[in-house]
Amino acid sequence: MQSSGDTASAAPALEARGISKHFGAVTALDRVNLRLEAGEVLGVVGDNGAGKSTLMKVLSGLFRPSEGEILVDGRPAQFHSPRDSHRAGIEMVYQDLALAGNLPIFENIYLGREPGRTFGGLTLVDHARARRLAAEHLERLQIQVKAIDQNVEDLSGGQRQAVAIARATAFDAKVVIMDEPTAALAIKEVGKVLDLIKRLKHHGVGVILISHRMDDIFYVCDRVMALFHGRNFAEAPLNETNRNEVIGWIMGTMDHTEALEHDKAT
């Protein structure tokens, strides 16, 4: 959890320069830039098909960009698979949570990276240690669960989200990317997840938050950027913009605040 908090390095925790991604004749991303400081929460907004998810899949190593480069702490990085991005300290929390419901909480947290002794690619898993580490980690994030042995399928949506976030931050993550973490949650659970994001920020973790919910964006983010038709459209620190302007960006309109107010009035 302790990440590159030293203020000496001016390089952003994660930077994407000129990222393009083509699927056949379709251009999903067109020279997109993104910058994230350590301990910063960046909101990414955009309409469906604006390229948010594609960009995040590029940053997490699931897709390889057609053009452009990714820098971690100022150093160029090549991601061929999620394993590579994990190694660089970049973690993704997927919208569908990507947890195995038939496995207990602690196993989900360490899935694919089980603690234990390794012999030639196979790990003799130390379940006792995994349990202990998972319990400590959940406590550090102030995530409460009934038992660490509970199967994930028996948890509520918010608890699952918390486990997914705990999983993403279990290995010194510098950057956590979250895709609509509150979309499927009951209202009273939304606040808990957002507070958890604030705690990550407090621990020096950079967070990229994709969300449609302006309430979420304006509650936790430091900065917000908008994609439109696969391009950078607009970007501003949170205290220099407002909800209506950001909603305008999503629809591809600049300075459209007044028209929106007008729409509202009628």
Partner: protein, 310 residues
């Protein structure tokens, strides 16, 4: 539980036969083949897959090892042939599924079921191969005498083989990362993939393991029969699937236990044995096994439903 009840019922109905040492070792020998095939299928079913080819692969393994044996290949090499042939076709199944991206393992393994059965007949033009040597038959037929009791107080070597395989797979699934990944792939393949697990690798592994156990089952069968028959094990895959399902594993993957699978194998074995002792025809046995499959899964559905209400 069901196993104990069945054991009890059989003891009462057939007191002089059922509990005799001879009958018990007989049961163990009879279930050997199904136990190994079911163990392999259990690994496959854990990933929400299916392997229909195990009966054919077992038969081809027997044919090839019998042919090698009668043509004078040294027995230690012959012992390796069964598992090697099985593992080979298992890998073929796994690669067909992952490289060719066939939509469901049913299709790939249905293909190998037929193709390999054809090969069984092709290698000898449909003739059986008899005269397997005693050294090769050891695993399937030999007994380890116990220091007490009479002539029939023995442990079949095949029981030791089963114990080692079941304990080994059980520990592997619990303790080794790859074993846990098999459960993860069955529970949520997408989650496994983004966790950095090589999902295709896991799939190839489980089909290879299924083939390996089919090859090992071939060794036991070669031991019992002393010969290779090209028609051996037709429909054996269905018995193995039945045992896994009766044992409580989920067809949708990620759920089940090695003990459950063994219980499933025992239920089917005891049923066959008990009905034989009572002189009930094989036709009724098959009917009953069908009913038990349905009942076993239904009971499981009921149990899960009440479990969820808590």
């Amino acid at each position: 539980m069901v196993v104990l009840v069945m054991g009890g019922v059989l003891t009462i109905l057939q007191p002089e036969y059922f509990l005799s040492a001879q009958n018990l070792t007989n049961i163990i020998r009879q279930i050997g083949m199904n136990a190994l095939l079911a163990l392999g299928l259990y690994l496959v079913i854990l990933t929400a897959g299916i392997d229909l080819s195990v009966g054919s692969v077992m038969a081809l393994s027997i044919m090839l090892l019998a042919l090698a044996d009668v043509s004078g290949v040294p027995w230690p090499l012959v012992l390796l042939i069964g598992p090697a042939v099985g593992t080979f076709f298992g890998i073929v199944n796994g690669l067909g599924l992952t490289l060719l991206r066939l939509p469901h393992p049913f299709i790939m393994t249905l293909g190998t079921l037929n193709a390999v059965r054809g090969l069984c007949n092709l290698v000898t033009d449909g003739r059986p191969v008899s005269g397997v040597s005693d050294a090769v038959r050891f695993l399937g037929i030999a007994d380890i005498p116990l220091p007490f009791g009479g002539k029939f107080a023995v442990i079949p070597v095949s029981a030791v083989v089963l114990f080692v395989c079941y304990a080994g797979v059980g520990l592997f699934l619990k303790k080794v990362s790859l074993g846990r990944h098999i459960f993860a792939v069955g529970g949520n393949p997408q989650a496994a993939r983004v966790s950095g697990i090589n999902v295709d690798g896991v799939l190839v592994f489980v089909y290879a393991a299924s083939g390996f156990f089919a090859g090992l089952a071939a060794l036991l069968m070669a031991g019992r029969t002393g010969a290779g028959y090209p028609n051996l094990g037709i429909g054996a895959e269905l018995d193995a699937i039945a045992a896994v399902i009766i044992g409580g594993a989920s067809f949708f993957g990620g759920r089940g236990s090695v003990l459950g699978v063994f219980a499933g194998v025992l239920v089917m074995g005891l049923l066959r044995n008990g009905l034989n002792l009572m002189n009930i025809s094989a036709f009724w046995q098959q009917t009953l096994i069908g009913v038990i499959i349905i009942l076993a899964v239904w009971v499981d559905v009921l149990r899960r439903r009440t479990g969820n209400k808590e």
